[in-house]
C-alpha cells in the first residue's frame, strides 16, 4: 500500500473533529477531496479524529455511492441511466465514453485517469442527457464536482476535459409567484430578491407575529408537503413547536432524487434566498435555533449557490445572533449527501446528518417529537418552503386564490421526456394535464402520446384518456395517479416501455437501503423479472411473481421507498397487460395486424 501523507487530512479534520460523528460525511468529503478516494489509513484517521468505530466508517463509506474505498479515476464521469436521459441517447454517450477510455461501465481505466459509471437520475431531466463529473487533481490535492446537461455524442473531448454546459433551465407556466427569479442561468442575489418583495415575510414573522400566528397562517393556507407525501405543513410545524424538549431543529430536505424531478434544483439554483427565507420563518415558528440544509451530493451548483445565499443573508443580518433585532438566534449549516436516494426519506436523512448509513427509522415516533439527534424536528421540502414567504407576506387568503379547496396555491411540475419544451412549470393546482402538456409544454414530440409517467419512479402511468384530469390531489387520486413530486414524464408512441420499466426497477434495486426484507429482496427480484419481460423471455408464473413481490413491497416495507417501489410496475401491468401475459412474438404480431390506436411495442431503440 502506498504511503499517504496524513498531514493535510489532520489539518482538514481539526475543525470538524469537535463535532464528533455528525461531521462524518463532511469529513469523508474533505478526505476524498484530498486523496481522490478513501484508502484505509485515511478512513482510519477520520475514525480516530471523530471518535467513530472503524467498522462504522466502513459501513458509511460503502453505503454512499459517491464515496470510494478503491482508487477511482482522477476524472469520474457519471452518466444518467434513467428514463428521461435514456430517451435522449444517454446510452450511446455512455458507450462512446467507455470505448474512448477503454473501460466497462463501473470500471477505472488502466492508466487511472477515468472512472465511468452509470448513475441514477441527476435532476437534469429537462436538459437530458446529463453527466456528473468529479475531477481530482493529485498535484494540488483538490477536487471539484460539476454537472453537464444536453451532452452531445460529439462532445467527448469536452467531457473528458470536464468542459460542458449547465442546465439552462426553461421555467414556464401560468404563474410566477415562486419562480419569478428562476430559469435565468444564475442565482438571484439577495438584493434582486428584495426587489420582488423578498425578506418581507421574515421581517413580518419575526417582528410582528408570534410563532403560533405564523403556524396558524400556514395552516390556513392549506400548504402541504411537496416532496411527495403531501402532509400539511402547518400541522407539522405545530407538532414540532408543541413537542417537549430541545434543542429543536429545522431541516431543509434538498435531497431531490426522484427520477424525473428537478424543480428543487431549479429553485435552489435560481432563487436560493426564497427557500432560506421560508426556512427562517419555519425555524422561528417551531423555536429552532439551527437549520440543516441537506442537499444531494449530485447537485454541486445548487450547493454552491445556496451557500453563497447563506453568506449574503448572514452578512445582511438575516441569520446569526438576534436576527432583525427580534432576539431570535438562528444559524444554518449546509450538508452534502453522497449518492443515496433513500436519504430523501426524512428519517434516513437525519441518520445521514448524524454520520450514519442512510437507513430509515421505524415510525412512530415521528420527527416532530423524535427527529434529528432524537430531538423535535420539522423537515420540509424545498418547494414547500419556497411558498412560505408568499403566504406570510400576502396572507393565507391570497395564497388560496390559486388552486382548489383541497389543493391550494401554486404548484411546480417537472415536465420532461418527449415534449417540445421540457422544463419546470408553475401553475395553479387545478389545470388539466392537457393544458400543461399541449398549451404550456408545446405538446408531444416525435409521434403520438403513448403514456405519461406521473409522480416519478414511484409513480404510475397515465394515458390519452386521462388528459382532462385536473392536476389536484383529489382529482389525481380519483384517477389512480399519484402527484408525487410533480413528475410529468412523457413518452411518445415509439418508445419501448419495457425498457423504461427495466430502468425504473434497476433504479430501485440500486437505491434500496437493504434494511427491510421486502424491499431489500423485492427490488432485486422485481428487476430480475422485468429483465425477462424486456427480453421477451418471461417464465410461466412471472406475472404472478411480479404481483406478489409488488404487493408485498407495497404492504410490508418499512418506508416509503419500498412501499412505492412496485408502483410503476403494478400500474404498467394494468395499462399494458399484454406486455406481461404474452410472449413478445404474440404482442408483435398483434401490433402488425394493425390494431390501431396506441402502439405498445415499437422498434427497440438502438442501444
Amino acid at each position: 500500500m502506498p504511503d499517504f501523507d496524513l498531514t493535510p487530512l489532520r489539518a482538514a479534520l481539526a475543525d470538524l473533529a469537535p463535532q464528533g460523528r455528525t461531521a462524518l460525511l463532511p469529513a469523508l468529503h474533505a478526505a476524498q477531496s484530498l486523496y481522490g478516494y478513501l484508502p484505509e489509513p485515511v478512513a482510519a484517521e477520520v475514525g480516530r479524529a471523530l471518535g467513530v468505530p472503524l467498522a462504522d466508517i466502513h459501513g458509511v463509506i460503502d453505503f454512499y455511492s459517491m464515496f470510494y474505498r478503491e482508487p477511482a479515476g482522477n476524472t469520474i464521469l457519471r452518466v444518467c441511466a434513467d428514463p428521461a436521459c435514456a430517451l435522449r441517447g444517454a446510452d450511446s454517450i455512455l458507450n462512446a465514453m467507455c470505448r474512448r477510455a477503454k473501460v466497462m461501465p463501473g470500471d477505472t481505466s488502466f492508466d487511472g485517469r477515468y472512472t465511468i459509471e452509470r448513475t441514477t437520475c441527476l435532476g437534469l431531466c429537462n436538459a437530458a442527457p446529463a453527466v456528473n463529473i468529479t475531477q481530482y487533481d493529485p498535484a494540488t490535492q483538490t477536487s471539484g464536482d460539476i454537472s453537464f446537461a444536453r451532452v452531445a455524442p460529439d462532445a467527448l473531448d469536452d467531457l473528458f476535459a470536464a468542459r460542458g454546459r449547465g442546465a439552462d433551465d426553461f421555467v414556464g407556466g401560468d404563474l410566477n409567484l415562486i419562480t419569478v427569479l428562476c430559469g435565468r442561468g444564475r442565482a438571484a442575489t439577495l438584493e434582486e430578491y428584495e426587489t420582488v418583495g423578498g425578506m418581507q415575510a421574515a421581517k413580518r414573522a419575526l417582528r410582528k407575529m408570534t410563532p403560533q400566528q405564523v403556524i396558524d397562517e400556514v395552516k390556513q393556507s392549506g400548504l402541504v408537503g411537496m416532496g411527495g407525501a403531501a402532509f400539511p405543513t402547518g400541522v407539522k410545524w405545530e407538532g414540532a413547536a408543541k413537542a417537549p424538549g430541545g434543542p429543536k431543529y429545522f431541516v431543509v430536505n434538498a435531497d431531490e432524487s426522484e427520477p424525473g424531478t428537478f424543480k428543487d434544483r431549479v429553485l435552489m439554483e435560481g432563487d436560493p434566498c426564497r427557500i432560506i427565507e421560508g426556512a427562517i420563518v419555519g425555524a422561528y415558528a417551531i423555536g429552532a435555533s439551527k437549520i440543516y440544509f441537506y442537499i444531494r451530493g449530485e447537485y454541486p451548483t445548487a450547493t454552491e449557490r445556496v451557500q453563497s445565499a447563506i453568506d449574503e443573508l448572514r452578512a445582511a443580518g438575516y441569520l446569526g445572533k438576534n436576527i432583525l433585532g427580534s432576539g431570535f438566534d438562528l444559524d444554518i449549516e449546509v450538508r452534502r449527501g453522497a449518492g443515496a436516494y433513500i436519504c430523501g426519506e426524512e428519517t434516513a436523512l437525519f441518520e445521514s446528518i448524524e454520520g450514519k448509513r442512510g437507513l430509515p427509522r421505524v415510525k412512530p415516533p415521528f420527527p416532530v417529537t423524535h427527529g434529528l439527534f432524537g430531538k423535535p424536528t420539522a423537515i420540509n421540502n424545498v418547494e414547500t418552503l419556497s411558498k412560505v414567504p408568499y403566504i406570510i407576506t400576502h396572507g393565507a387568503a391570497a395564497f388560496r386564490r390559486y388552486g382548489t379547496e383541497k389543493s391550494a396555491g401554486p404548484k411546480l411540475f417537472c415536465v420532461s421526456g418527449d415534449v417540445a419544451r421540457p422544463g419546470v412549470y408553475e401553475v395553479p393546482f387545478g389545470i388539466t394535464i392537457r393544458h400543461l402538456l399541449d398549451d404550456l409544454a408545446g405538446g408531444v414530440e416525435g409521434g403520438k402520446l403513448q403514456t405519461i409517467l406521473f409522480g416519478g419512479a414511484a409513480g404510475a402511468f397515465a394515458t390519452e384518456k386521462d388528459l382532462d384530469v385536473r392536476l389536484t390531489f383529489e382529482d389525481l387520486r380519483a384517477a389512480g395517479l399519484p402527484l408525487g413530486s410533480g413528475v410529468v414524464m412523457v413518452f411518445n408512441e415509439t418508445r419501448d416501455m419495457r425498457d423504461m420499466l427495466l430502468r425504473l426497477t434497476k433504479f430501485f434495486a440500486h437505491e434500496s437501503c437493504g434494511k427491510c426484507y421486502p424491499c431489500q429482496l423485492g427490488t432485486q427480484r422485481q428487476m430480475e423479472i422485468i429483465e425477462r419481460v424486456r427480453e421477451g423471455k418471461m417464465l410461466p408464473g412471472d406475472s404472478e411473481r411480479l404481483t406478489d413481490v409488488g404487493w408485498t413491497m407495497t404492504d410490508a416495507s418499512l418506508c416509503g421507498l419500498g412501499q412505492t417501489a412496485a408502483s410503476a410496475v403494478l400500474s404498467a401491468m394494468k395499462v399494458w397487460p399484454e406486455l406481461f401475459g404474452k410472449k413478445k412474438s404474440e404482442v408483435r404480431s398483434r401490433k402488425s395486424e394493425g390494431k390501431g390506436g396506441k402502439k405498445v411495442v415499437a422498434k427497440k431503440q438502438k442501444r
Binding site: 484505509e40 478512513a43 482510519a44 468505530p53 472503524l54 467498522a55 462504522d56 466508517i57 466502513h58 459501513g59 460503502d62 453505503f63 474505498r69 443515496a340 448509513r357 421505524v362 434495486a509 440500486h510 437505491e511 434500496s512 437501503c513 437493504g514 434494511k515 427491510c516 426484507y517 421486502p518 431489500q520 429482496l521 423485492g522 427490488t523 432485486q524 427480484r525 430480475e528 417464465l539 408464473g541 411473481r545 406478489d548 413481490v549 404487493w551 408485498t552 407495497t554 404492504d555 410490508a556 416495507s557 418499512l558 412501499q563
Partner: protein
C-alpha cells in the same frame, strides 16, 4: 399503566398501554412469526414477517414494535398478511442458505413457501470465512437480521468490530476494510454467535466437528491458532 382493550383475530384482549401487538398476541396464544426479533436486542422491525393487518391502516404493521391502542382491530392471518409473509420467505429462501436456520424452517412449511419460486434469481453467495480460533463466518447463511452487529455494539458488548458493507440486496456484514477478525476490535466474547439464528456464525469447534474433524485435530487446530493470535 392503564389497560388498553383491542381485538386480535376477533378475540378481545386487555393489556397495559405500551404493549406491542406481538406481546399482546402471544398473551392470548396467537403465534406471530418473527426472524429478526430477539428479546435482548433492540427491535428494528426489519424482517417484516411479523406484519399484521390493523383495521384502517394503509399498510401492514410490524407486530414486534407496533403498540396497541384502544379499540384497535388486528388480523394476524388475513390474506394480505399471508401473502406478504409467504413472499418474503420465498424470496429469502431463494437468496440465502436457510438449511441450518432452525427457527425459519418451520415457517417455510407453515406458509407453504415455495423454495423454487425465485430459484433463478441472484443468490448471496459468500465464501466461508475461517480467520480466527473461536468462530467461523458463513455469510451465505446470513439473513441480515442485524443481531450480531447490535450485540457487538450498544445492545451488549460495545466492541464495534462489525458493521455493514454495501447496501440493498448486496448488503453484508463487514469489518473495517474486510479485515480478518483478529485484526479488528473483536474480543471474541461470542455474543454474536449466540444470537445468530441461521448458523452463519458458528463456534469453530462445532463447525470442525460437522466437517468431520476428530477431537484431537480440533484441539490441534484451535490451539495452534490461539498461539498465533497471542504472538500477534
Amino acid at each position: 399503566m392503564a389497560d388498553v382493550t383491542l381485538t386480535i383475530d376477533g378475540k378481545a384482549v386487555s393489556v397495559p398501554a405500551g404493549t406491542t401487538i406481538l406481546k399482546a398476541a402471544q398473551g392470548i396464544g396467537e403465534h406471530v412469526p418473527t426472524i429478526c426479533f430477539h428479546e435482548h436486542c433492540t427491535a428494528n422491525a426489519l424482517c417484516r414477517v411479523c406484519v399484521v393487518e390493523v383495521e384502517g391502516a394503509r399498510v401492514l404493521s410490524p407486530a414486534c414494535v407496533a403498540q396497541v391502542s384502544e379499540g384497535m382491530k388486528v388480523q394476524t392471518r388475513s390474506e394480505r398478511v399471508q401473502r406478504s409473509r409467504r413472499t418474503i420467505l420465498e424470496m429469502l429462501d431463494s437468496a440465502v442458505d436457510l438449511s441450518e436456520a432452525e427457527s425459519i424452517q418451520p415457517m417455510l412449511k407453515e406458509y407453504a413457501a415455495d423454495g423454487e419460486r425465485f430459484a433463478d434469481g441472484a443468490r448471496r453467495d459468500h465464501p466461508l470465512l475461517d480467520d480466527n480460533p473461536m468462530y467461523i463466518r458463513d455469510y451465505a447463511k446470513c439473513v441480515l437480521c442485524w443481531r450480531c452487529v447490535q450485540v457487538c455494539a450498544d445492545d451488549a458488548q460495545y466492541t464495534y468490530a462489525i458493521n455493514f458493507g454495501k447496501r440493498g440486496f448486496e448488503t453484508s456484514i463487514a469489518t473495517f476494510f474486510d479485515k480478518p477478525m483478529p485484526a479488528t476490535t473483536c474480543v471474541f466474547c461470542g455474543q454474536c454467535v449466540g444470537v445468530c439464528p441461521t448458523g452463519a456464525l458458528k463456534p469453530k469447534r462445532e463447525w470442525l466437528l460437522q466437517e468431520g474433524a476428530t477431537p484431537d485435530e480440533i484441539m490441534q487446530a484451535t490451539r495452534a491458532e490461539r498461539r498465533r493470535k497471542r504472538k500477534a
